[in-house]
Each structure stands twice: as C-alpha cells, then as structure tokens.
Amino acid sequence: MFRKWMICGAALLLMVTATRAETIEDKVAVCAGCHGADGKPVDKTIPTIWGQQAGYLYIQLRDFKRGDRKSDIMQPIATQFERDDMLAIAEYFSQKPWPDLGQPRAPKDVAAKAVSASASVGCPACHLDRFQGDGTVPRLAGMGRDYLAKTIADFRNRARGNNPGMSDLMLATSPDDLAALVEYLAGL
C-alpha cells in the first residue's frame, strides 16, 4: 500500500509541476493517477470521485485549497485552481458513471445494525434515501470500504477538520455501529 501511494504521489507531483492545465481534460488529467483512469481508485483508501455529487467535489477542492482539509497530495493540486476551475472539474467528474467496486452486500445482521445506527443520528436526512447524496453532501453508497473506515476514523479524531458536524455525529456513534455502517455502505 505504501508503495502504491508513493508512486501515485510521485506521478502527481511531476504532473503538477510539469504542466499548466488549459482545457478541462488537461486539468483533470492529474486526477486519474490516484482516483483511477476508469473511476476505480488505485488504492483502497482513496475516494471514488466518478459519479460523485458535484457540489461535494467542489467544496472538497475549495477546502483543500483553503487548508481546511489537509492532504499533502491534494493541497498542491487544488491550490492551482480558481473557483470556476473547481466547479468545472466537479461537474466533469459528477457526470461520469459511478464505478462498481464489486464490494459484497453486508450480511443481514450487520445491515440491521447499520440501519439502526444510521436512523439514530439521522444520516439519511442529509445523505438521502439509499445514501445517494445530493448537492454538497456526498454519495456514500458503494464507496470504497477502506476509505469509508479511514474517513470515519479521521472524523472521530478530528484529523479531518473540514466538517466538524460530521465529527460530532461520528463521536456520538459507537465504534461497533460505525464498523457495521462501513460494511453496509460499501456494499450498497
């Protein structure tokens, strides 16, 4: 995993410094290095961005640039973009088909536990029916399992600081319930 990250990161740094993006295709070329040329991320801790909600993708790029969301890889990339670029990139990826990562459905008992935990803090109120997301709220259904687990952990310890409301909700939910949620969401 470490090796994959190194390659992915090195490729990106080369591209960021070597090219000046012009067209939307040029601007998004860098993304495939980690997020996948076919929409399937090259590493399991990297999020799916194909078919993701445009508003959410824009806000993440904005937050990387502002430094509200930390990432040694994403910050230098986002820094070169203006708001219109970010909106265009977000729209571009939102129009791509969501990739099937082939993750199995959660067993019934795990799903039941996840649904109960979700109802308890009201996840569907923002992520909507079947966790499809909308606007600035991301789709979670079918997202990579390891990325979901890492994100939840990062929310819980506030390493991911650009949505404290999510940190609050994750902190109010037990690790057991969150583990069930990860499995359930990944398998949707």
Binding site: M15, D68, P99, P164, G165, T173
Partner: protein
C-alpha cells in the same frame, strides 16, 4: 469530449484505457421543464384577503393569511366521509420527500416536489398542464431533506423559493420564468424550502440555515420585479437579551449566566453567525398591517459555550410591520437553547380569551416542546400554554459528551407541521412526535457554512417511538382529545367546516377524524408516507380533498411521488 478526456489522462499516465464500462448503481432522473398553455384566472389581492371564506379555491399554503387551515366547505362531512374515494392520482417525476401544500386557483392546482419542481395540474382530472423543473445550482446546503413546501399565486404569477436559495416568479399559464432573484449564498448554508407568502405586492420569505451558522432573516421582495424591499435580521446586533433563566413555562434551563458573561466579555456579541432560520410562512394581520412568524434555533444547535446571552430572536415569536419590516414585538420561548427544541410550526391568528376571559386578537404557535402557546397579538405577550401533548422528562438537563436523555426529542413535539384550528370549537389540532433521545455536546469553531450542530441528538433505538393527533382548547389550554399513532407524525393537518380533520402518517395512512372527539371516520392507504399538509377545494359543485404522498427524508419514511385527490360519488 468524454473519450478525449479519458485518452488524455490515460496517455499522461502511460496506461491503456481499461475495458468494460463502469455502471452507475443509481441514476437520478433528470427532467426538463415542460411548458404549457393553461387557462388560468389571475388572483387578486381581494381574493387572497377573503381566502378564509372561499370554499372553491385553496389560495394560500395554510388556507388564508391567518393560517387557520380551516376549510369553510362542508359537502364532505361526518355522515358521508365514509364514501370518500380517489378521484385521481398524479405521479410527479421526483420520488423524494414530499411536503407540498397544494394551492388551487379556479380549477388549476399548483404542487411542488423536492428539488424545487413545480407542476400545474387540472384540479378536476389531475392532468398535467405544465412542469417547471428547476435547474439546481451545484451548491446546495440543507438540513432535513431537499424539500419544498409549495408556491403562492398573485395575478398570473406563481412564486417559488428554491433549494439553492433563489426566489422566482413563474408565468402561471406556461411555467416560464418571469424573474429570478438570488436570496443568499448557498455556500454559506442558506437554502429555501418554505412557500413564499405574497401580500400587497410583496413576496415574503425567510431562510433555512440554522444548522450552518447563518444569520437568519425575513425579507420582502417586490412581486413585480423581484427587487428587495426590506430585510429584517432575525438576529439583532444586540442578541444578548435579559439573561433569562427560565423557559416560557417557568422551568429552569440550568444556564451558567456568569460563565456566559465571561465569554461575552472575551468574544463580544455572537450575532453574526448565530443562526435563527425561519422555516415557515408568516401569518398576516390585514387589520393592523403586521406579520407574525417564529424564528428557529441558534447555531450551533447543542453547544452554547461560544454564543453567550439569550441569542435573540432565536426560538421566538416575532411581529413586524408589513410595509417596513420594522420590529414590533417578540416573545422568546427558550433563551440560549441547547436542545434544538425551537419554534418552527407556522403561527395562526385567531381570537382568543385573555387571562380575564375577554376575547382579544391572539396568535398561537405549537412548539417542539409539545405545548401550544397562546399570545396577545398586540404585544406578543404569552397568555397561556397548553398541557403538554407529548411526554416530557428531565427538562432541561444540559447535553453532555456521553449523552443526556431528555423528552421531547429534538424533533418535537410539533415539528414544521402546520396546525389547524376550528374557531367555532375553540380547538387547535396538532400532530406530534414522540422520539426519546439523548443530547450530546461537542465544541468546534465556525466551519464556514458546514453542518454546525455542536454535538448530536440521538434517537434511543431501544425505546418505543410514537405519534399523536391532539386537539387542544386554546382558551383553556386543556387537551380535548388525543389519537395515538404508531409512528411519530410530521406533515400537517386540515380542519373543515364539515366537522372533520384530515391528516396522514409515515406508514401511508391518510385518515379523516371527527373534529369534536377524534373518532376515525375514514382512511386510505397511500402506499408511501403521507407527510404533507392536505388542502380542499370545489369544482363543478364537488368538494375534493388533496394530499401529497411522498414520504419524508427527516424521519426516513417511505418515499413516493403521488398527489392524490379524493371526492365523494
């Protein structure tokens, strides 16, 4: 473009294109607007003023400017409601939370759906006349569902407020856009789900965003041009208030006033990001030219540590002058709220008995606390509050990191659901939730328009939830009758001169009850949650009752996309 893009980044990485198209698991249906050429009758201000006496139309979201939701027609009554049957069903293109209040103008019905779509329908047949599919901006930030609660018509224009915080006028005949005005920046947490109230060429609108650190407002826009006429900030620059230690019912809220004063000295007045959304329509007193509305919770919802003071005018009844937007009076139910038990359900203007038994103009509001509050319209003062319609326990325990149990849960009591009244019986009808919850507090800095709850309210899975329909005598505060329902209720209710109340449940049941004793007289299974307020109207000498059955995001009730009209043989 698509192939070129793929080729570009594949080449850049020195890898070939992968075979096999990725398949989307879910695709949201994108619909285009369908313009029409409907025959419509322009709505005059005089018609709107007299809406309370008009059984033919249903002109305002809550029936009339007083928002009584009392329909004056009585063809459908206690004796014949058992014969009520489906007249038509219209299926919208959007299968998501449905909170619309159908408006009916001379045989044309206007309904809305989630994501700010509008449909004009033939109210007799359900046939679509036109469909406005709002092209949503990429940035929407909203809590509790992509809802829309309806439109209002004045002249030949239909007024709509959208999820991406725009105010629009549509042509009532065709569905074409006449003008669009940006209300506020959605990137900072502003959104719109309420129906506008249009009166005297002004379009009145509040804003959502109390969960995102906005500064709330109510505004008036020129109905002809969309130009802003006045703005009232629901959070004044001096939001500190009187350091109230008790709520409207006299219960201690366990505030640490000295600690708050210390924070105030350090950070100053927190008014700029203090929340105070306005979720529902104001009522309009045409005689005094005043409006009355309620203001929602402070931001962040559960963490009061960095918002010292009473947080005026959150959780308050507020009255303004209609022409100028100037403050007239207010009454705060819960100062420095840390439970999100705010004021959401729309106000209703009725004559009430004051403490001496004298009949005076009153204004009533049903709270998330489960009380119906009765006020003097002149100065907003509280005359009385009703018996609690839902169990109350451990009020007002302060939220903790681990979670403190308190009833009601944060959804109420009465959520945004409008109440109905029957002035002849001196009764107010409210639908309630009972959801035992624990309240958790966490502290974080203002997150630039992101969700800012300051903790969490958690349903306790092991405890039974329920709902109820409650009739309260607003002149005594006593509960006249109550019908228990298996699930918490959200949506709305309609009372009629036929001696009935109509309301729906999340399990798809839509029913009529005797408005004097709560006896169930008729019911129908809609197949999806009936979580929208019903309306009623007449065409060709026949009375119809109409309601949306599309479920609810906030409580995750089964989604659907039906508008269902009922009539007698």
């Amino acid at each position: 473009m698509y192939v070129k893009g793929l080729a570009a980044f594949a080449a850049a990485l020195g890898v070939g294109l992968l075979s096999g198209a990725a398949v989307a698991q879910e695709v949201k249906q994108e619909k285009q607007s369908v313009l029409g050429n409907a025959t419509v009758s322009p709505v005059t201000q005089e018609q709107l003023n007299a809406a309370d006496k008009n059984a033919k139309d249903f002109l305002l979201t809550n029936g009339n400017y007083a928002q009584t939701r009392f329909y004056p027609g009585k063809q459908i009554g206690r004796d014949n409601v058992k014969n009520l049957h489906v007249a038509w069903i219209f299926q919208t293109d959007v299968k998501e939370s449905l909170e619309t209040s159908p408006i009916v103008v001379d045989g044309v019905m206007y309904v809305t759906t989630s994501f700010s779509h509008v449909y004009a329908l033939d109210a007799k047949t359900g046939q679509q006349l036109w469909h406005y599919a709002h092209k949503m901006g990429p940035i929407t930030v909203y809590c509790c569902g992509p809802n829309n609660r309806g439109v209002q018509v004045l002249g030949d224009r239909v007024y709509l407020a959208t999820l991406d915080s725009k105010l629009m006028a549509l042509n009532a005949k065709t569905g074409e856009v006449v003008w669009t005005t940006n209300i506020a920046d959605p990137e900072l947490g502003y959104s719109e789900t309420m129906a506008p109230t249009v009166v005297k060429d002004k379009v009145l609108i509040g804003t959502n965003g109390g969960e995102y650190g906005i500064r709330g407002f109510v505004r008036a826009y020129d109905a002809k041009t969309g130009k802003q006429l006045w703005n009232f900030n629901t959070i004044p620059e001096n939001s500190v208030g009187v350091w109230a230690t008790k709520d409207a019912t006299g219960r201690d809220m366990h505030r640490n006033i000295q600690a708050e004063k210390d924070v105030l000295a350090k950070i100053g007045d927190p008014y700029a990001k203090l929340g105070g959304g306005v979720w529902q329509n104001p009522s309009v007193d045409l005689a005094t030219n005043r409006i009355y509305f309620v203001v929602g919770n402070p931001s962040p919802d559960l963490d009061g540590s960095n918002r010292p003071g009473d947080n005026l005018y959150t959780n308050s009844l507020v009255s303004l002058d209609l022409d100028t937007g100037k403050y007239v009076c207010h009454f705060q139910y819960i100062a420095h709220d840390v439970w999100d038990l705010d004021a959401v359900s729309p106000t209703v203007l009725v004559n009430v008995k004051d403490k001496d038994g004298k009949t005076i103009p009153g204004v009533i509001h049903a709270g998330k606390t489960g009380h119906i509050y009765v006020h003097d319209r002149k100065d907003c003062s509280l005359i009385r509050f009703s018996e609690a319609m839902v169990p109350q326990e451990n009020m007002w325990v302060l939220p903790t990191k681990e979670g403190a149990r308190m009833l009601p849960g944060a959804n109420g009591g009465v959520e945004w659901s409008p109440i109905a009244t029957d002035p002849g019986q001196e009764l107010a009808y409210a639908i309630n939730l009972h959801q035992p919850m624990t309240y958790h507090v966490e502290s974080s800095a203002y997150p630039n328009g992101k969700l800012w709850l300051g903790g969490a309210f958690k349903v306790i899975p092991s405890e039974k939830q329920s709902g109820n329909i409650t009739a309260v005598n607003y002149n005594t505060g006593k509960i006249k009758w109550q019908v228990k329902t298996p699930e918490p209720m959200i949506g709305g209710i309609l009372a009629t001169a036929g001696g009935l109340v109509f309301t729906g449940e999340g399990n798809g049941k839509f029913a009529a009850y005797n408005s004097s004793n709560g006896k169930e007289l008729w019911s129908f299974r809609a197949g999806a949650g009936v979580n929208a307020p019903p309306s009623s109207y007449m065409i060709g000498g026949k009375q119809y009752v109409v309601v949306g059955a599309g479920g609810n995001t906030q409580l995750d009730y089964k989604r659907g996309n039906n508008i269902i009209a009922f009539t007698l043989d």
